[in-house]
Subunit: 128 residues, 2 copies
DNA sequence: TTTGACTTTTACGTCAAGGTCAACGATAGT
DNA sequence: ACTATCGTTGACCTTGACGTAAAAGTCAAA
C-alpha cells in the first residue's frame, strides 16, 4: 500500500498553502518523491511536516528547524561536535523554559481579563 | 524621587537596541516623557517594556501587543464589546495552550537528544 | 471536447520588525 | 578647543516567510 498524499491533501489537513510546502522543499526541509514533476508525499513526509509546523508554532526559524532535522538525520559522531550540540541543546531548552513561563504568566493574566469582563457584564446586566 | 531611565540604560538592561524602543514608540506601544527631545522613561514605562518583550517572546505581533495594551488602558464598557473581547481572549488562550504543549513536547525531545549525546560520548570515551 | 480541479515552475511582491547610516544637538571631561 | 558619549530625526535597507500572478501541463467527468 504505502499511501501517498497529494500536496493539496496536506495543505488542507494542516491549513497551509502549497506555496509553503514548496518553499519548505526549496529550503531543504522536506524531500517528497516525484512522479514526473508532481510531488508525492509519504507518511514519513507528512510526519516531518507536522514537526516542522510545531517548530514554527513555537517560533523556530526555518534555519533552526533545518538544523534540528539535520541532527536527527545524521547525528554527529565526533566528540567536539557532540559537545557543541549538547551546549546548543541546553541553550534551546533554556529558551523554551523561558517561553513556557511567559506563556503561563500570560495565561494567568488572561484569566484575570476574563474575570474582569464577567464582573463588568454582571454589573451591566443588573443595571438593565 | 521618581527615577528616570535613559534609553541606553534600558537597552542594556533588556538587550535590545535604541532603534527598537523608538520603533515601539512610533508604533504607539510606549509613550515616554520628554525633556526637550530626549526621552525619559519612568518605572511604569520600564514595566510596560518588559511586558512588550514578553509578548514578543511568545510570538505576539506588534499589532496584537498594541491591542492588549489598549484593553488594559481602557477596557470596553459596552456589552457587545465585552463579549467580543471575551471570545478573543478565549482564542488567545487556546493558542497559548497549544504553544505550551508544543514546547513541552519539544523539551521532551531535547531530553532525548541530550541523552543520546551522553550515551554516544560514553561510547567514544570508553574507546579512547 | 470542453470544463474543472489539480499540478508544475519562474519570478516579482509584500509585510513585519527592526538594522543601518547620515547629519546633527547637548553635555561633560581633559 | 577638542573629543567622547549619549541623545535626536529621517530615510532607506534587509531578512524571513511566505503571497500572488503568469503560463503551462495532466487527468477525470460531463
Amino acid at each position: 500500500m504505502n499511501k501517498y498524499y497529494s500536496i493539496t491533501e496536506l495543505t488542507r489537513e494542516f491549513g497551509i498553502s502549497t506555496r509553503t510546502l514548496r518553499f519548505y522543499e526549496d529550503e531543504g526541509l522536506i524531500h517528497p518523491e516525484r512522479r514526473g514533476r508532481t510531488r508525492l508525499f509519504r507518511p514519513a513526509d507528512r510526519r516531518l511536516i507536522q514537526e516542522i509546523l510545531r517548530g514554527r508554532r513555537i517560533g523556530f526559524t526555518i534555519a533552526e528547524i533545518r538544523e534540528i532535522i539535520q541532527v536527527y538525520k545524521d547525528p554527529p559522531g565526533e566528540m567536539g561536535q557532540l559537545q557543541l550540540l549538547m551546549s546548543r541543546v541546553e541553550e534551546k531548552r533554556e529558551e523554551l523554559r523561558q517561553k513556557r513561563k511567559d506563556i503561563e504568566d500570560t495565561l494567568a493574566e488572561l484569566d484575570n481579563v476574563e474575570e474582569a469582563c464577567l464582573t463588568r457584564l454582571a454589573e451591566i446586566g443588573v443595571g438593565t
